[in-house]
Every structure is written in structure tokens, then in C-alpha cells.
Amino acid sequence: MSGSLWYQQAVALWRKDLRAELRTRVALGSMGVFALASLMLIALSMLSLKDEVFVDALGHSHLAWDNPAKMALLWVLFCFAAFAGLSHSFVHEESTGTAQNLRLFMSAHAVYAGKLFFNFTVLGAIMLVITPIYMLLTGMQVGGIMVFVPIMVWGGMSLAAVATTVAALASRAHTSGALFGAIGLPMLIVLLVLIMQAAKLCYSAHIDTISIVKDTGGLLSYGILIITLSALSFHFVWED
């Protein structure tokens, strides 16, 4: 018996989490209801902005409720939905005492990988359902599909990575629920700025190479760096 490799363990953890999630639907349910409710709230409150026009510093006038603005609010929605549900993955293991078994059976980076992909799966499912409804209600356009899809996927991945890391940190403290939102938000604001900057590419007619590199590069490197640093330091959080 040689034992299994870390990615096999991560897949096993992912499958276990998915099975438990489909049975109890704690994370999916809370995130789904949260996302739908805030979707309605956004759509209703932005009705009055529909024909609003603002004039920028250069004298050009724009629609206030344009595609980038709609995209920004969609991502704000995702961020809050992620923070409503994704902490469950770690907090549940710690509070029910099953984390000890995982520590005995699995290496720390396998746990991190498994939880990250589980969170990404849940967030991806929510995004797949919410995005079309949001586009239907607010009239947001896809714009350049070759930019839109990668931004949605990588943005979701980075969001899941931030949420996973912060959930792991918060689950070790007594007051995990309150802490989770508080220590995660500063990291999310930066992510949001980068996503919005990248999302503007979907709706701009003339895209030059420099702006693509500058705007998507920020988002891409942010996600990669967060995942790398979290994976490197995860065992300090996980083990005693």
C-alpha cells in the first residue's frame, strides 16, 4: 500500500463535498437565495437610473447605467453571494469535528486544492444561473464573447480563491462568521477593481494590445498570486 497522490485526495474531497452539498444544499441554497434577492434589489433600484446621463471631465456624455456599470454591480452581487455561502466549506468541517479526520488522512495542500475546486464549482453553478437572469432583467450585453467568458471564469476562480483562503483563516477563530466578511472585504475590493477594469474590454470597440495586457494581466496575476501564496502557506493555517 503506497497511499494516494495529493490530487487524487483532492478529487476525493471534492466528490465528498459535492455529494454532501447536493444532499443538504446549505451553501448552494444560501448563496442562491442571497443572489436572487439582491438581483431583484439591484434591478428594481436601478430602474430610475435607466435614462440618466452624466458628463465626464472631457465633456463627453455617457449613459450612467451602461454595460460596465451593470457588469460592476453583477460582480458586487457575486462577491456578496460568495461571502454568504463559501465559508461553509471550512467552518462546517471545524465545527462538526470532522477536520481532525481530514488532518489525519490528507496532506494540507490536498485539502486546499479540494476545497478550492469545490468552492469554484459552487460559485460557478451560481454564476451560470444568475448571469442570464441578470442580463435578461437589466439588459446587460455580452460584448466581446472572447473577452467576456475568460473574465467570468477567471474572475470566479480568483473570487473562489480569496473566499477559500479567508474561510480557512476565519474558521480557526472563535467568531468565524463575523470575521469572514471583515477580513475578506479589503481583498475583494482590489479584485473588484481589477475585474471591472478588465470587463471594460468587453464593451470597448477599439482594443489595443497594450490595454489588453494591462487590464487582463492585472486580474490574471492577482488570481495566480493569491492561489500560489495561499497554497504555500496553507499548512500553517490548517495544522496545529
Binding site: G3, R15, K16, A20, T96, N101, R103, F105, E239
Partner: protein, 244 residues
């Protein structure tokens, strides 16, 4: 804090020239042969503290293959903590725990894969069934969790026919049996049992005893943390963790 090692029976003979592929182990029932391997658990000067509170200090143990060690001590002396340190779940405050197989020290993943443990605070997934729990942990060990394997390991702990029920519907005795089944996955060479027969009925206690004998005969090392007199009897060696 003082620790005394009481050796009830003679220690294992590691240098038997006469039977090189087997080694002689003397137990309560007399002499016994077990397959030769030089699995060895060495604990030297182990001590731990929580915050500023000392639990124990200067614990020493040298256990060879085929030994059952009973870890004794009153409540609050840190028996469970001691087992967690041996399992690698906690970093000790001082001292070392080393596990070696055929002279080579086991570390990291290799070490992780030969340790099985049950403890009252190591819970299983309530939202999954007993069989699903077993399947998950078996796949973490790299085993192939097919139906036959799950059925046989459930049968071994007397949970035949209850594998499909959710763990949340189990009684505390059944949960203890399932914990025992999880700890035995992959037949770990070092088995750590924290109060193994708590919540168990007479039949369950017999199961624990047969598990112990199996592991002893296979040349594994078993540590039992206990207060119950019948569990103390199982130990070949007693390790007293006492509070002064």
C-alpha cells in the same frame, strides 16, 4: 509530572538468530510468533502544554512491532493529547516522536498512510451514510472502495446491513463502531485508539479485542488510551501518564 514505564511482559526480541523471518513475542497467553519487521515507535522526552498549563513532561517509550501499549492516566493528564502528538496532529512542546520501518525513518506522506486513529472528538460526516463515509476515507488512503470491500469492513465491526443509513441516524455505539472501521482502513501499522470501547456493548467490546489481536499478530503497534480496567488488560506494556 512523572512518568513511569511498567513493563508487564518481556520486551520483543529483535535479534533472534534462530527464526530470522519471524520474531518471538511473549503475551499474556504465552509465546507467539509474528512476521519479522522492525517497525519501531520511539518517543523520547515528550512534553506538552496548553497555553501555560503543563500537561505532561518527559514521556519515554520504545515500542517494537507487535506491541499493544496501554496509555493510562486520570482525566485531564493529556492521554488524548499524547495520542494526537503520536499521530502527528499536534506539534509537541518538547521531545520527539519517531516512527521507523526496517531502520528507515518514516516521515510526511509515508508516515501519514500507516497511521489509523479513533478518538471521541474525531467526528464522521453526519450527512453521508456509513458506507459513503468509509468510501471517502478509503479513497483518501488510495484504496479501491468497491462494494465487497465496504461490505466486509462494515461486517467486521458489526454494522452489516446498516451501511446505507445516514450517520446522523446512528446511535453513539454504532458511530463508535464506524470510527473503528474507518481507523482500520488499509490495515495501518500504527493504530491509535482513544477510549475504543466507550459507548460499546459487550459484542462491540469483543470486536475491539479481536481487532487488537489481529493487529498484534500482524506485527503492528497499537496504542490505547484508556481508563477502563478491561481495556488496560489488553496492553502488553503500560505507559503511565500521571499527574503529581
Amino acid at each position: 509530572m512523572k512518568i513511569s514505564l511498567i513493563i508487564k511482559q518481556k520486551q520483543v526480541n529483535n535479534h533472534s538468530h534462530f527464526i530470522p523471518w519471524q520474531q518471538v513475542v511473549r503475551t499474556q497467553t504465552g509465546l507467539r510468533l509474528c512476521p519479522l519487521n522492525t517497525l519501531r515507535l520511539q518517543i523520547s522526552n515528550l512534553g506538552h502544554r496548553y497555553g501555560g498549563r503543563k500537561l505532561f513532561q518527559g514521556v519515554n517509550l520504545d515500542a517494537a512491532a507487535g506491541t499493544v501499549v496501554a496509555v493510562l492516566g486520570t482525566n485531564g493528564t493529556g492521554k488524548s493529547t499524547f495520542l494526537k502528538i503520536v499521530a502527528g496532529l499536534l506539534t509537541p512542546w518538547q521531545g520527539t516522536v519517531s516512527l521507523s520501518l526496517d531502520g528507515a525513518a518514516l516521515t510526511g506522506e509515508k508516515r501519514r498512510h500507516i497511521i489509523g486513529m479513533t478518538a471521541p472528538d474525531m467526528a464522521l460526516y453526519q450527512e453521508l451514510s456509513g458506507a459513503e463515509n468509509l468510501e471517502f476515507f478509503a479513497s483518501l488512503r488510495g484504496l479501491n472502495p468497491d462494494t465487497a470491500m465496504l461490505r466486509s469492513s462494515l461486517e467486521k465491526v458489526g454494522l452489516k446491513g446498516r451501511g446505507r443509513d445516514l450517520v446522523s441516524d446512528y446511535s453513539s455505539g454504532m458511530r463508535q463502531r464506524l470510527r473503528l472501521a474507518v481507523a482500520q482502513l488499509g490495515s495501518p501499522r500504527l493504530l491509535l485508539l482513544d477510549e475504543p470501547s466507550s459507548n460499546l456493548d459487550a459484542a462491540g467490546i469483543e470486536i475491539v479485542e479481536s481487532v487488537l489481536n489481529q493487529h498484534r499478530e500482524a506485527g503492528h503497534i497499537v496504542l490505547i488510551a484508556t481508563n477502563a480496567p478491561h481495556e488496560m488488560e489488553w496492553g502488553d506494556v503500560h505507559l503511565q501518564v500521571a499527574q503529581l
